[in-house]
């Protein structure tokens, strides 16, 4: 008898759990799935959203992702663009909280400058070495 009650309770529990789990699917942020009315601003927001990482489904941008947190991020981006904030300010705001990882656009910082400097240095080195070789070839 008590087993039957437990099973009944479990069934009820399961039944109750389903609607509450379905909640995750909705994003309640106003601009998660709504574009801005001004097409120029929407384009600005879109360009920024495509270069921001979804924190939940990493590897997708927030423009591509259906995760609820990506919806919140899209709404944040659109609302801030609508209120006149510049895209790079919004990116900086997010980087301040999540680190460089949140942005797909590489930032030039004290840590990342070698990434930009090394290729330039290599090209310069190659140029110098080749020039010497060509000049020597010319001498002979």
């Amino acid at each position: 008898m008590s087993r039957l009650i437990v099973m009944l309770l479990a069934a009820i529990g399961l039944f109750c759990a389903v609607p509450s789990l379905a909640q995750e699917e909705q994003s309640t942020a106003p601009y998660a799935y709504r574009q801005l009315d001004d097409p120029a601003k929407e384009q600005q927001a879109q360009d920024l959203m495509e270069t921001l990482r979804c924190l939940q489904c990493q590897g997708q941008s927030i423009a591509d992702s259906d995760a609820p947190i990506a919806g919140s991020m899209r709404s944040l981006v659109r609302e801030r663009i609508a209120s006149g904030e510049r895209p790079e300010e919004i990116r900086a705001w997010l980087i301040e909280r999540y680190g460089d990882y949140v942005s797909y656009a590489p930032q030039l910082t004290s840590l990342t400058w070698p990434l930009f400097a090394v290729p330039l240095a290599l090209v310069l080195l190659a140029f110098l070495l080749l020039r010497r070789r060509f000049r020597r070839g010319g001498d002979r």
Binding site: Q23, A29, Q56, P68
Partner: protein
């Protein structure tokens, strides 16, 4: 200079011929390390050691105050738990939060993208350790805290400075760690 170059090439030739192979082997080793080491997928908040961003959240339940960032800077360390009724790991950590609340730790809740009914049902079912619960319906306060999911738990010291972020559910083995961080924060 032009006479010297051929001699150095001949001298160095013995070992230099292995240099590309050695570089390649080093590269392969680097890739293997990157492949074999389990990657840490957690995105940590970079706000640790900084003051809590200002926010005012409306009450998530009619009978409970909402959460204001100024409530956190009242001289005592707090736990701020970011949770939701739709989050399964939040159920796993409920007993640990209950134990912490029983030990006298003030726990404040931020309920993310939730409804009053679902939240009330969740609390009835899994216990309610919260002093205040703020409703973060659009998830903006979660973003402003640098939180990338639920559940996450922040240790905030008496001055309102974030001291520690616990990503994921608090399992029984994490409770001593949380208590340690709270003790550190109260110093």
């Amino acid at each position: 200079m032009s006479e010297e170059t051929p001699t150095t090439t001949r001298k160095g030739g013995g070992w230099a011929i292995w240099l590309p192979l050695a570089l390649f082997a080093a590269f392969v080793a680097l890739v293997l390390i990157g492949l074999l080491r389990p990657a840490d997928r957690n995105v940590e908040s970079t706000l640790i050691g900084k003051p809590v961003p200002e926010f005012q959240l409306p009450p998530a339940l009619p009978a409970r105050p909402g959460l204001d960032s100024r409530d956190l800077a009242n001289g005592k360390p707090h736990l701020v738990n970011i949770f939701a009724s739709w989050c399964l790991p939040c159920r796993v950590e409920a007993p640990q939060l209950a134990a912490l609340a029983e030990a006298g730790v003030p726990i404040e809740g931020i309920s993310v993208r939730d409804t009053t009914e679902a939240l009330q049902r969740f609390l009835d079912e899994h216990g309610d350790p919260f002093q205040r619960i703020g409703a973060d319906d659009d998830g903006k306060v979660q973003l402003s805290l640098g939180s990338s999911g639920v559940p996450e738990t922040y240790v905030i010291d008496g001055k309102g400075v974030i001291r520690y972020q616990h990503i994921g559910e608090i399992r029984p083995e994490h409770v001593p760690l949380i208590l340690d961080k709270l003790r550190e924060a109260s110093r």
